[in-house]
């Protein structure tokens, strides 16, 4: 009970109003939803094999942690490595599409058309080719996340206006300078838009790939728990996946803010 004087002290220095204002409203919504869930499950005595209460799920995360974290690391590795590969393929490809007529006319349309193929349908095929290990998962992550990066980077690099190019050439800029000082900075907000889309897709890719055939990873844990009707364990895995996805997205949002500081000024002036 030593914490009681502490809280009153904090409460006096930071009145509840400012404390409440500092926490985003969405957090309050989330807390309210979890409370509602907890109360409803207890009041209506919903059995655990249908819907466990949040407190039960939390307890499951703690008690099952020794199995959760190594598998989470496997999935995280697939996501991050696949994503990095996707960026390394997509960005140079987009640059080549913008600079080469051949790539723009003979290759790019095929990349766009290939997006109508449901990637999940290809997954079993990849299993046949690459086996049971990590490789097919990474390939699926790449396949899912690479497309929005290509499309957005192409759009971004093409967003340079004719006037910008006239200006550049009137200054005597060479192709290298036009790319680094005009096209690429202009494209950055588009590229980050694509990267953020790709984070969500890369998480989906890893989980789906693990569903189809794996012996480790969070997707694998969900399948096993499902087979045992262990709903709490499934929820525990889902929460971990979601946290990973959110952190990944948050990381990119932060990177975006660092890389594109002039965008921040837009938000600030928008508030004023």
């Amino acid at each position: 009970m030593a914490s009681v004087p502490d809280t009153t002290y904090i409460a006096r220095r930071n009145p509840l109003k400012t404390l409440g204002e500092r926490i985003p409203p969405a957090v309050w919504t989330l807390i309210a939803l979890l409370l509602f869930w907890e109360v409803m499950v207890r009041l209506r005595e919903i059995p655990q094999y249908i819907l466990p209460a949040p407190s039960v799920i939390f307890a499951e995360i703690v008690s099952y942690w020794h199995r959760l974290w190594p598998n989470a690391l496997v999935t995280l590795g697939e996501i991050l490595f696949g994503f990095a590969c996707a960026v390394c393929i997509a960005v140079p490809l987009a640059v080549s599409v913008v600079y080469s007529q051949f790539m723009a006319r003979a290759v790019f349309p095929i990349i766009v058309m290939s997006q109508t193929i449901p990637k999940v349908a290809i997954a079993p095929l990849l299993l046949t080719w690459f086996g049971y290990g990590v490789t097919p998962k990474i390939v699926i992550v790449i396949m899912l996340s690479f497309f929005p990066i290509v499309i957005n980077t192409v759009m971004g690099l093409r967003a340079t206006t004719p006037e910008m190019l006239y200006l550049a050439r009137s200054m005597g800029a060479n192709g290298w300078q036009i790319f680094w000082k005009f096209r690429l900075p202009k494209a950055l907000p588009f590229i980050f838009g694509g990267l953020k889309l790709a984070t969500a897709l890369s998480v989906i890719g890893a989980i789906v790939a693990e569903f189809i055939g794996a012996d480790k990873g969070l997707g694998y844990l969900i399948l096993i728990a499902g087979a045992n009707f262990d709903i709490a364990r499934q929820f525990a895995s889902i929460i971990l996946i979601s946290l990973m996805g959110m952190s990944f997205f948050g990381l990119l949002t932060w990177l975006e803010r660092v890389a594109i500081p002039w965008r921040e000024s837009v938000e600030l002036s928008g508030k004023g």
């Binding site: 006239y166 200006l167 050439r169 009137s170 200054m171 800029a173 000082k181 002039w262 002036s269």
Partner: protein, 265 residues
């Protein structure tokens, strides 16, 4: 400013220049045999209705577009490709949104790989001349349209070009900002020896700024008339109420009426 006699070789010489664009609907003749000599240090404005090819003429001068026939020389040298020995201002300010006002001006020096320390001093000086000294670090989005265009003018002057090309630079601005920028521009021009080729569709703007006004016809663009503007410098806004100024406005308006650009009935 144009005190030297006609004996001096022209700074810019345009002779028999024609430009034909070939599009989907066949060929469009934008300019037909344009002849014009511009003296060093002269302020020449081109006035004409939309689509008369005045912007095309500017693009030909900058070397960003190739002409179909004729010859353009600057200091006696024929223009064959993009000419970087000039400053250029477009109707849009074309500021790079990821650079501050100062860095946008400095872009000119960066691309040209000039001495950056010296360029920085000059950029600050230019921004001060257009009253933007307190906005050096502002991003373009934080500036008004008039401020942005002033930054873009500073950028075009950083490398002290002998020739400045301006394509309706004040066309997108409101009337009051426009007045201020005209004054700013004259101030900047008076501070250096520079030839200005200025495109506008405003008759009074052309008279107010220029030593000579070139009148162009609707497409295909030809030069209908070149009018000397004999008004003292430095010019003040009150000049626009001067009977001589008003006389020039009337004269130019009559020319455009006779060309069928203005129809009053």
């Amino acid at each position: 400013m144009p005190s030297h006699g006609a004996l001096e070789a022209p700074h810019v010489s345009i002779s028999g220049v024609t430009k034909v664009f070939s599009g989907r609907k066949g060929e469009v003749e934008a300019l037909r045999t344009v002849d014009l000599d511009i003296r060093r240090g002269e302020f020449v404005s081109v006035v004409g209705p939309s689509g008369c090819g005045k912007s095309t003429l500017l693009m030909l001068l900058s070397g960003l577009l190739g002409r179909s026939a004729g010859e353009i020389t600057i200091d006696g040298a024929s223009i064959a490709g993009p000419n970087s020995d000039l400053g250029i201002v477009f109707q849009q300010d074309v500021l790079l949104e990821w650079r501050s006002a100062l860095d946008n001006v400095l872009l000119q020096a960066e691309i040209r790989k000039s001495d950056m320390g010296e360029a920085r001093t000059r950029a600050r000086e230019l921004l001060r001349m257009v009253s933007l000294q307190d906005f050096e670090d502002a991003y373009p989005r934080e500036l008004s349209g008039g401020m942005r265009q002033r930054v873009s003018i500073c950028r075009s002057l950083l490398h002290q070009p002998p020739l400045l090309l301006m394509d309706e630079p004040f066309g997108a601005l409101d009337a009051m900002t426009r007045d201020q920028l005209q004054i700013d521009l004259l101030k900047l021009c008076a501070a250096r020896d520079m030839t200005v080729f200025f495109i506008t569709h405003s008759i009074s703007e052309a008279i107010f700024l220029s030593d000579r006004v070139v009148v162009m016809t609707p497409r295909p663009g030809r030069i209908e008339r070149v009018m000397d503007i004999d008004l003292p410098r430095p010019r003040r806004l009150a000049l626009r109420e001067d009977p001589k100024f008003i006389g020039y406005v009337h004269e130019l308006t009559e020319i455009f009426k006779s060309l069928g650009v203005f129809k009053e009935e």
